[in-house]
């Protein structure tokens, strides 16, 4: 018996020895602490971005919202023509509450001495959290997402759509307080959480609501709810999706129903030309549909896990997604394939967004975009404007996009010519053939020295004609030539063939690896929203703080006896100050 005991004990010791890896690794434990400080500024090639710590929006009491299982804080912006000069409005949800404020952003306000006293003559006016334009507290259901109608907006009236955790949708006017409509009030359409909702671009009345169930519904704000559960008739069906229209003699909501993939539709995004819609699903698939034709025209599978977010490049050429593989994935709309993956996040990627203001044209300067660009950010682009932005018109050489994640980190990524050049469509053909994209699997190269981009036998061949030197094991999948895009997609999706090495999900070594140009911890809590604006970047975290980061040069140096620490800019001591301990942001 004693002998047995000795043996079994050693079995434990032995097993433990063979598995405990992190313990002796100094790197792993040390690295965790380096990034623990919250950053207040970061430098890029265009200059230094600074956190405006007086321009933090939150609940009026500024107390961090601290529920472990709450719904992400989302932010919606709208710009109106206001006599007073404050044109921007912000709406955000925190817990059971929804707030609507005037958004001041980086704007500098002169505070007259008579009010504040002689000490503080000129400074950035803090966000006045005591005076929300509107505030709602919900019981029994929790707001999850919202969107402003950009076609009907005015300073006097706004249409704000709000989705809820129990599936309902509310339309209200936070300015006039006259409109207040409920959709799916009886929860007969869908009982699950609203994940994403948006006004359909170009329509005053129609909006699209995506649910956790995997269904999306088109509603008309003028249609009545109807009696009883809605009836549907199948309109269209394809690999992994089906579309039903409402089957009712009287007009009622919903107008139609899209069922996509398995599990939640986490986010959708309309293309800048409003023709296409991209959906990021919990089943790990990115799907791109022609919204009017209701046809599937592109599919991608995450490296693994669900996709959480999706966005389009301002010119509609590229789609970026992020998700549970901790990666940001760049997918070329014209070639229908993954062109790059970004490695850097330490947890799931929650939001991705292109920065239309730092996207370079012909290698120099930023795109000179008017205020209209902001509207595109909000999801709706005036179609006549967007259609003029064709890939050939603007010779975009570099795209900039950002991502925020559950790792509390904010990252900026550049999609430069080195990544874009190899697959730029030749001639004027809009849709590259599959054979082109297949051949490009061979011509990949790694851009980084990151931990996972090891040299492979594929590296930098550059020659699209050369056969791919894959092992015989993977060869059949890789070399499958498919002539019709739809057939290829159907066969790929229906067989669930998501093994690496396919067009749907290429292997890590078969696509470019991007490294972030900026990677900063910017909050204590998971980040939940990211928005690029003309003069600033806005981020929100789970605690309900919405922070504004001024772009380089957007903060003007103030009077000598002013509060200079808040307004200095264009200094070059960024790298030193990076090491400074972070000051409390919510003070």
């Amino acid at each position: 018996m004693a002998k047995t005991r000795v043996r079994t004990k050693s079995a434990i010791a032995r097993a433990n020895r063979s598995v405990c890896l992190g313990r002796e690794s100094k790197m792993a434990s040390g690295r965790g602490h380096v990034n623990q400080e919250i950053k207040q500024h970061f430098a890029t090639k265009e200059g230094c971005y600074r956190l405006l710590d007086l321009s933090v929006y939150s609940r009026p009491n500024k107390v961090p919202y601290n529920a472990q299982q709450c719904h992400p804080v989302r932010v919606s912006f709208v710009t109106v023509k206001d006599q007073g000069g404050c044109n921007d409005r912000i709406a955000f949800n925190v817990g059971r509450e929804l707030y609507f404020y005037i958004y001041k952003g980086v704007r500098k306000m002169l505070i007259t001495p008579s009010i504040v006293g002689p000490i503080c003559r000129e400074r950035y006016e803090a966000a006045d959290l005591t005076k929300p334009l509107d505030k709602r507290l919900y019981k029994g259901t929790i707001p999850t997402c919202h969107d402003f109608n950009l076609l009907t907006r005015s300073a006097e009236s706004l249409e704000l759509l709000i989705g809820f955790s129990a599936g309902q949708v509310q339309l209200l006017d936070p300015v006039k307080h006259e409109v207040n409509k409920l959709f799916n009030e009886e929860r007969l359409v869908d009982k699950t959480k609203v994940m994403c909702l948006k006004w359909i671009p170009g329509s005053e009345n129609l909006f699209l609501v995506a649910h956790e169930s995997g269904n999306m519904f088109v509603y008309n704000k003028e249609h009545p709810a109807g009696v009883g559960p809605p009836q549907y008739a199948l309109m269209k069906q394809g690999p992994g999706y089906s579309i039903h229209s409402g089957k009712s003699k009287t007009t009622r909501n919903p107008v139609c129903k899209w069922t996509i993939g398995e599990g939640s539709i986490n986010e959708f995004a309309f293309s800048p030309d409003c023709k296409h819609i991209a959906t990021a699903n919990q089943d790990g698939f990115l799907r791109i549909f022609d919204f009017d034709m209701q046809t599937l025209c592109g599919v991608m599978k995450s490296y693994f896990g669900g996709l959480k977010c999706v966005c389009w490049s301002p010119d509609g050429k590229y789609i970026v997604t992020g998700g549970e593989d901790d990666l940001v994935t760049v997918w070329s709309f014209f070639e229908r394939r993954v062109i790059a993956r970004g490695v850097g996040h330490q947890s799931w990627v929650q939001v991705v967004a292109f920065d239309p203001y730092t996207t370079s044209v012909s290698g120099r300067g930023g795109v000179d975009d008017s205020d209209e660009e902001e509207i595109e950010q909000n999801g709706v682009a005036p179609s006549q404007r967007a259609s003029s932005v064709t890939p050939e018109d603007k010779n975009v050489t570099s795209y900039r996009f950002g991502s925020v994640g559950q790792d509390t980190h904010f990252m900026l990524w550049d999609l430069g010519e080195d990544v874009l050049r190899p697959q730029r469509p030749r001639g004027r053909s809009v849709r590259a053939t599959i054979s082109l994209s297949n051949s490009h699997i061979t011509s990949t190269h790694s851009l980084s020295n990151g931990p996972i981009s090891h040299d492979t036998n594929h590296s930098g061949s550059g020659n699209a004609v050369a056969p791919c030197p894959v092992s015989s094991f993977d060869a059949p999948k890789n070399l499958t030539q498919v002539h019709s895009l739809t057939i290829s997609m159907e066969s790929l999706v229906s067989t669930g063939n998501v093994s690496p090495g396919t067009v749907l999900c290429p292997r890590m070594e078969d696509v470019c690896i991007l490294e972030p140009l900026v990677a900063k911890k910017v909050a204590n809590e998971r980040l939940t929203a990211l928005s690029f604006r003309e003069d600033c970047i806005v981020m929100a975290c789970h605690e309900g703080f919405i922070r504004t980061w001024a772009r380089p040069g957007k903060v003007v140096r103030c009077a000598p006896n002013g509060d200079s620490s808040l307004s200095e800019d264009d200094d070059t001591e960024d790298h030193n100050s990076d090491a400074l301990p972070a000051s409390p942001l919510s003070s």
Binding site: R14, A15, Q68, E324, D407, S499
Partner: protein, 370 residues
């Protein structure tokens, strides 16, 4: 209990209830939740369950931990009812008899128990095989030396240090065993030497607000060996600076990941729990595989999670969530509940550093697809 069980059956629905599947809670005999939680997780690791159910001991009379486990699994699988509660009496008694570590009513570490159980089963199987061989030898009066197979181990420089290297792998190894390769590159002569180690599960350090993917990357990060930690390079025949990294060379069928949530605090002289929020996806691929790894893009599906509830290793509770036929179930000793897949979010951990008590994932079981 009975009411709870029948409610589960109702909740799943008669048509949706998987055929030939049984969801049985296990009675707690006083702090045996560490055992119950691991047993439930293993029961829903299909390859493991099938092997245990198919186990035929050579001697019927001799009771072992494996025969007790096989009896328990068979008992669950042969129940007439679909849901209910069983008492793993024989198994727990045997466990307490075999190992003094578990012979008390104290709270035990579920990971330690998992390790002990898998190693014990492997040892039993190897012992049985050795006996069988001996029998064959006796009957055939073979002249082959029994030591000949052992002598071939450890001659090459890439020689494996598998603890059971002398023995043939058992089905426990077949299911859970993976191989890590420890690559050391001498910074002087650039020679890379690698050493393999086998594992039945991986223990990973956890950090706040990270994913399991990131934690797995953590141990594969390159470490530079310098100053007093210099590495003896056999090519240079001297101590040199070197870079070391650990990568997965062989991916197991079932990847068991242990999150090192219990950390010894020097100041407090006791273990404390790291309730960090570490997210784990339903689907996983490894990034830290070696170049020569076979099928390194293997896709894994989450099948079971042992969850620790509470504030420290010696207090608290273990529960398990498992995926069975597309359903997610929560096993809390004798209670079995159906949960929504989204409810898994509750078991990632806490983002607040102040709270220590949490219900957080402790051992993750991922099964290779296909």
């Amino acid at each position: 209990m009975g009411a709870n069980a029948s409610q589960l059956e109702k909740e799943i629905g008669p048509h949706e209830f998987p055929q030939n599947e049984h969801y049985f809670g296990l009675v707690n005999f006083g702090n045996t939740c560490y055992c119950n939680s691991v047993l439930q997780a293993l029961f829903f690791c299909r390859p493991f369950r099938e092997r245990v159910l198919g186990y035929k001991p050579i001697s019927k009379r001799k009771e072992s931990l494996l025969t007790c486990l096989a009896d328990l699994f068979a008992n669950i699988a042969s129940q007439k009812k679909k849901v209910g509660v069983l008492a793993p009496k024989k198994f727990v008694a045997r466990l307490r008899k075999e190992n003094e570590l578990f012979d008390n009513y104290m709270q035990q570490d579920a990971h330690e128990f998992l390790n002990y159980l898998l190693n014990t089963i492997a040892d039993l199987l190897q012992g049985e095989r050795a006996k069988e061989k001996e029998k064959e030898k006796h009957s055939s009066t073979s002249s082959v030396s029994s030591k000949s197979s052992a002598s071939s181990v450890g001659t090459t420089n890439g020689g494996s240090s598998i603890p059971n290297g002398k023995m043939e792998p058992t089905w426990v190894h077949d299911i859970f065993e993976g191989i890590l390769t420890n690559e050391t590159r001498c910074l002087c002569c650039e020679t890379v030497s690698s050493k393999d180690e086998s594992f039945l599960d991986l223990s990973v350090d956890v950090e706040q607000n990270t994913s399991i993917t990131h934690c797995l990357r953590g141990f594969s990060s390159t470490e530079t060996l310098c100053s007093e930690h210099k590495y003896f390079c056999e090519t240079c025949c001297s101590k040199q600076e070197a870079q070391k990294r650990m990568r997965v060379k062989k991916l197991p069928k079932i990847l068991a990941l242990h999150l090192k949530r219990f950390k010894y605090m020097e100041q407090l002289q006791r273990y404390t729990k790291l309730s960090y929020r570490v997210v784990f996806p339903f689907e996983l691929r490894l990034f830290n595989t070696s170049d020569d790894a076979i099928n390194h893009g293997k896709l894994y599906d989450l099948v079971a999670v042992v969850i620790h509830c509470g504030s420290g290793p010696n207090r608290g509770h273990y529960i398990t969530i498992v995926k069975s036929h597309g359903l997610w179930l929560l096993f809390d000793d004798d209670i079995v509940e159906k949960i929504e897949a989204q409810a898994i979010e509750e078991f990632y951990g806490l983002t607040s550093e102040i709270q220590k008590a949490s219900e957080s994932g402790y051992i993750l079981f991922y099964e290779a697809r296909g």
